[in-house]
């Protein structure tokens, strides 16, 4: 017989997330004044908001109901029939109990639910026997093994053996359906989680059901690929090993993979992620719940793109320009000494006006604080910049979460799904609720869009200054305003770190908006004019990213001493005097302000790659070397007072 189960059965992280989602929804419904209904689950009375499904009411009552196809963020289909329980209710004037799929039935007053009767046990056993009939049971070579809902439910609820002696359905194993996802149709139990995700959440329907009956299978359009920026989520919600990650394939058993909370820094959205690492190496990225940002999803850029932390292209040795003008490897002490020597030389001989620094919009607030302490604090430098684009500096009017309630969404000059993935997912939600979503390539198309005061206009931070003026006047006329969506993970972190020289900078300043001038242009002009002799470029690549690339090229071709911190070689490091190899997001602690103003703080997940150092430690050491030792042991020691991280909990 099956092992002990019931309310005390330890839940998997995925199950706990589902239960927590139910708790969140219940609370939200209560707050919204949704009427409650009372029912009895396994002898225990519970009240739940009207509309709650019986399986969810059972969770609230602490009962255990196994399931595969149910997912709190997808519409219920009642396909797998694993969540069968005895439901007693009144229908057509008669009160009777019958076995029902609890994921489809809304809880109602007076219902009596029983999840552990012999009939229910027999039904659950029977369904699992059927689910397993054609399943290949190739768990030893399945990446899902060890964290597989089907394995877990079989241990707890399944039959002890199989009576299936027939030939199983056979398909080509391990069929790659995209760059990231491998499909194994033999393992698929046709729960339709992935296909529902594709149509309901990702909104691109890139994965669908084909054929029917016992030959039903999931897949991309015939002959096509699963080219969605959200494909990786299907790997996580697949309750079996049918959809697995090509990147994680055979990288280790799930229990060898430690999971640490982090924030994705691939774009500005600040998705909450769980970084899986094995023996100090990042092996996979999973989504983590944050209802205000990513719910529980990730985009593929975040899920798979972060593998670049393991890239052999990573810089692991400081570089210094030698007498012949070539960048050559050196050690940290030599590199840092060279930086300090030049810094002191320029300060003494040319004054602080000849010093400049460009803060990081991809690193942490703390990195910037320590940069500020060195250049502004020690040397009174004021040529401190960070903004490489020409966008107005203002937090967006529309937050990520607000977009799902919008009725009219206009995105200009972006591929929202790739550039602002979480804004995109909320726009899909809005669209499912009837919103009109319009995407135009450039401001030229704006004239054809009928804006109203309720329109939500989403704009990237990469347009030309003139474009913002066009948008501003169109949106002012319509009375709707517009939202500039930053690209980088910490676009306003340097401001919060004080790089603008503002006393006690705060997030609310950013809601109001800062003056729009881009000081980076001043720095670069100073460099090309020769008035700036020393510049510290922290973690950015102005030569590539400045709109005025001619100015950027000229600036970094000057004789000034250029220090660049970076994880990889790029167009700016190529012109540097000293290049300092720094740790990745997963290797460093610190805080980030995401696109809509949520401050999130994370710890390092793995040690820095050998030879690299976290940026804040580099800055701490430079401060110490110029005679400014700081009592800093972790980045949080320098987080400005008044900045309270909230989002990552």
């Amino acid at each position: 017989m099956s092992t002990q189960n019931g309310p005390d059965r330890p839940k998997t992280p995925a199950e706990s997330a589902d239960v927590n989602k139910v708790v969140t929804d219940t609370k939200a419904a209560q707050d919204a004044g949704v009427p409650m209904v009372s029912l009895v689950v396994d002898g225990k009375s519970v009240s739940v908001p009207k509309g709650t499904l019986v399986i969810e009411a059972a969770f609230s009552a602490g009962s255990d109901i196994p399931y595969f196809c149910y997912h709190p963020r997808l519409t219920s289909v009642g396909a797998c029939r694993m969540c069968l329980a005895s439901v007693e209710l009144e229908m057509f004037g008669q009160r009777r109990a019958s076995i029902m799929a609890t994921c489809t039935v809304p809880a109602a007053d007076g219902m009596v639910i029983k999840t552990t009767t012999p009939d229910v046990k027999k039904a659950q056993n029977g369904v699992l026997e059927l689910i397993l009939a054609n399943h290949p049971l190739d768990c030893p070579v399945c990446d899902r093994g060890g964290e597989c809902p089907l394995q877990n439910m079989t241990i707890s609820y399944g039959p002890p053996n199989t009576r299936f002696i027939e030939d199983k359905r056979r398909y080509v194993k391990a069929l790659p359906i995209s760059d990231h996802v491998v499909l194994d149709r033999e393992r698929c139990i046709t729960c339709m989680r992935c296909t529902r995700f594709a149509s309901e959440v990702a909104g691109d329907s890139k994965l669908g059901l084909i054929n029917r009956g016992a030959q039903s299978e999931v897949g991309p359009f015939l002959g096509g690929t699963f080219d969605s920026n959200f494909s990786g989520n299907t790997i996580e919600i697949c309750p079996v090993g049918a959809l697995t990650s090509r990147q994680f394939r055979f990288k280790g058993r799930p229990w060898e993979v430690k999971s640490s909370d982090s924030i994705c820094t691939k774009c500005s959205n600040g998705c909450n992620i769980a970084v899986g690492h094995r023996m100090g190496e990042v092996v996979r990225i999973n989504g983590r719940v944050n209802e205000d940002i990513n719910e529980e999803w990730t985009c593929d850029k975040g899920k798979f793109g972060n593998a670049d932390v393991n890239s052999p292209e990573r810089l692991t040795v400081p570089l210094i320009r030698d007498a012949h003008g070539a960048l050559v490897e050196t050690d940290w002490d030599t590199a840092l000494s060279a930086v300090v020597t030049n810094l002191q030389y320029v300060a003494e001989n040319y004054g602080s006006a000849s010093l400049a620094a460009i803060g990081t919009t991809t690193g942490t607030v703390e990195d910037n604080v320590l940069l500020n302490k060195l250049y502004r604090g020690v040397y009174s430098a004021t040529n401190l910049a960070y903004q490489l684009n020409e966008a107005p500096r203002r937090l967006p009017k529309a937050s990520i979460v607000s977009v799902e309630k919008a009725q009219h969404i206009v995105s200009i000059g972006m591929d929202l799904a790739y550039d602002q993935p979480m804004y995109y997912l909320r726009s899909v939600k809005a669209q499912r609720n009837g919103a009109v979503v319009v995407s135009i390539d450039s401001v030229i198309g704006l004239g054809d869009v009928a804006l109203t005061p309720e329109s939500v206009v989403l704009v990237p931070d990469t347009l030309a200054a003139a474009d913002y003026q066009v948008i501003d006047s169109a949106c002012s006329a319509a009375g709707c305003g517009y939202s500039v969506l930053a690209s980088d993970a910490n676009a306003y972190g340097p401001y919060l770190a004080g790089l603008d020289g503002t006393e006690a900078p705060s997030v609310s300043d950013l809601s109001v908006g800062l003056d729009a001038s881009s000081k980076a242009t001043d720095v670069l002009s100073g460099l090309s004019a020769g008035s700036i002799k020393h510049v510290f470029v922290m973690g950015s690549d102005p030569v590539t990213h400045m709109r005025d690339s001619r100015l950027a090229n000229a600036a970094f071709s000057s004789d000034a001493f250029v220090v660049v911190t970076s994880q990889f070689m790029n167009a700016t490091t190529a012109k540097a005097s000293v290049v300092l190899p720094i740790a990745s997001f997963s290797e460093t602690a610190g805080s980030y302000l995401n696109v809509d103003g949520q401050l999130q703080t994370v710890d390092a997940v793995v040690p820095p790659k050998a030879g690299t150092r976290p940026q804040w430690q580099v800055m701490l050491e430079l401060n110490a070397r110029v005679g400014n030792p700081l009592p800093v042991f972790t980045p949080s020691d320098v987080l400005p007072a008044g900045l309270v991280p909230g989002g990552s909990e």
Partner: protein, 436 residues
């Protein structure tokens, strides 16, 4: 004295040219629609209620209950949908009705549309029924030309449009919610039903009030309006809950297979006689009373009322179903027939739910193994257990219908299974005689 077989739907079945508008009108056609369009919708529903009409498609649900659940206004579009996706093995009545009496269907639809306050009707016809489809579409076109369809019909101020919608080969689309999926351009998979979802009469196709009725149900409405509900309810010689007449497709080993309109409650032996009796020189072995999903009935008793109540009570099958009566004589290999049906349901399972998808796949493999001599005695219990895992647990009625012939054949003909298991063939039938 045999029961007098009142003919309502088939009264003019054999009139030459009855499929043409002029002939149909000459025989009183569209008179009931003229009457209906002037009636209060509630009065029509009341007549249908009094008539005791139950759905002729298979479930036998009282028609008036469905109709009464519609909103009593025309604030949003209501849809009247005809299930002409006849596919239940043994059932051929709707095809005949559409081929021979297309205007009766159109008139029935029109009367029903008045009752449920619908201006739009879709007739969902299975993909194989090209000829019936053309027949019905022609009738619709002629009805438009004659002013029975279109805008402000007969000066009523009401608009009526009827469209045909051709399926493409999926038995599951005969299930009303799957039919609605298919009508909306989706895979023909069943949708959630009460208590998990609102009634279709509140939120059906395109989330608007909708009802799905069988071809024969709609075609019965003119007769009810002509006779009056009370008079219609007087027809029937069996259960007080089985009123009127019903089309039966009688097939298999009978002398005169065909489609017959039979007064509900007529003794089964008389029904058999109407079809000429079991073919000469043979005896009744078993029969399926109402389409393959109903299961196999024992050869006795013969004298019981053949209607919604009488069949399940006397045969332990699911009942009257869609009226597909299949007669099998002693030459029939019941194991083989059941195997065929298992493969049919396996082929037609939509794949949405585990029990039906996997259970039928497994059953199909077990039957194939037994048929090819690899049977084991424990397979009988296994088949029963698999049926038990499907019964009451599948998403829709297809799974339930699939196991009923399996379970009834096991109950009545277990020895034939054992014969295959022990001897590799059926020693209880002479399969070589099939088709003789």
């Amino acid at each position: 004295m045999p029961v007098e077989q009142t003919q309502l739907l088939y009264r003019h079945r054999n009139v030459p040219g009855i499929n043409r508008l002029e002939t149909y009108v000459a025989h009183g056609g569209y008179e009931q629609f003229r009457k209906a369009v002037a009636m209060d919708p509630e009065a029509i529903i009341e007549e249908v209620k009094v008539s005791g009409l139950r759905g002729r498609g298979g479930a036998g649900f009282p028609t008036h209950i469905k109709w009464n659940a519609f909103p009593k206004n025309r604030d949003v579009e209501h849809y009247f949908i005809i299930n002409a996706d006849e596919g239940e093995p043994g059932t051929a009545k709707d095809r005949d009705l559409m081929n021979a009496l297309p205007h009766l269907l159109v008139e029935g639809c029109l009367c029903s549309m008045v009752a449920v306050r619908a201006a739009k009707c879709y007739i969902y016809i299975r993909g194989e029924y090209i000829e019936p489809w053309k027949s019905v579409q022609k009738a619709i076109n002629d009805a438009y030309a004659a002013g029975f369809l279109g805008k402000n019909v007969l000066g009523s101020g009401l608009d009526f449009d009827i469209y045909t919608h051709l399926g493409a080969g999926a038995y599951e689309c005969g299930e009303e919610s799957a039919l609605m999926s298919s009508l909306m351009g989706e895979r023909g998979m069943p949708r959630l039903k009460p208590p998990a979802a609102p009634l279709p009469m509140i939120s059906g196709v395109w989330k608007r009030p909708s009802v799905v009725n069988n071809v024969e149900t709609a075609a019965t409405i003119p007769a009810i309006l002509e006779l009056g509900g009370a008079k219609y309810a007087e027809i029937g010689v069996g259960s007080p809950r089985s009123r009127g007449t019903k089309l039966f497709s009688i097939s298999g080993h009978v002398n005169k297979p065909g489609i017959y309109e039979i007064v509900l409650g007529t003794p089964f032996s008389e029904v058999l006689d109407i079809a000429g009796g079991v073919r000469d020189g043979h005896q009744l072995k078993t029969y399926i009373p109402g389409g393959s999903s109903m299961g196999f009935a024992p050869p006795t008793p013969l004298d019981y009322p053949f209607d919604y109540e009488g069949i399940p009570q006397n045969t332990q099958t699911l009942g009257l179903g869609s009226g597909g009566l299949m007669i099998f004589d002693e030459t029939t290999d019941v194991f083989k027939v059941t195997h065929r049906l298992v493969d049919f349901y396996h082929h037609e399972s939509c794949g949405k739910c585990t029990p039906c998808r996997e259970g039928l796949d497994w059953l199909s493999k077990i039957y194939a193994r037994i048929a090819s001599g690899g049977g084991r005695e424990q397979d009988i219990d296994l088949i029963w257990d698999i049926c038990d895992s499907i019964r009451g647990k599948s998403f829709c009625a297809l799974g339930e219908g699939a196991i009923w012939p399996v379970m009834t054949s096991l109950r009545l003909f277990r020895h034939e299974y054992l014969s295959y298991i022990h001897h590799g063939r059926n020693t209880y039938s002479d399969a070589g005689q099939l088709g003789a």
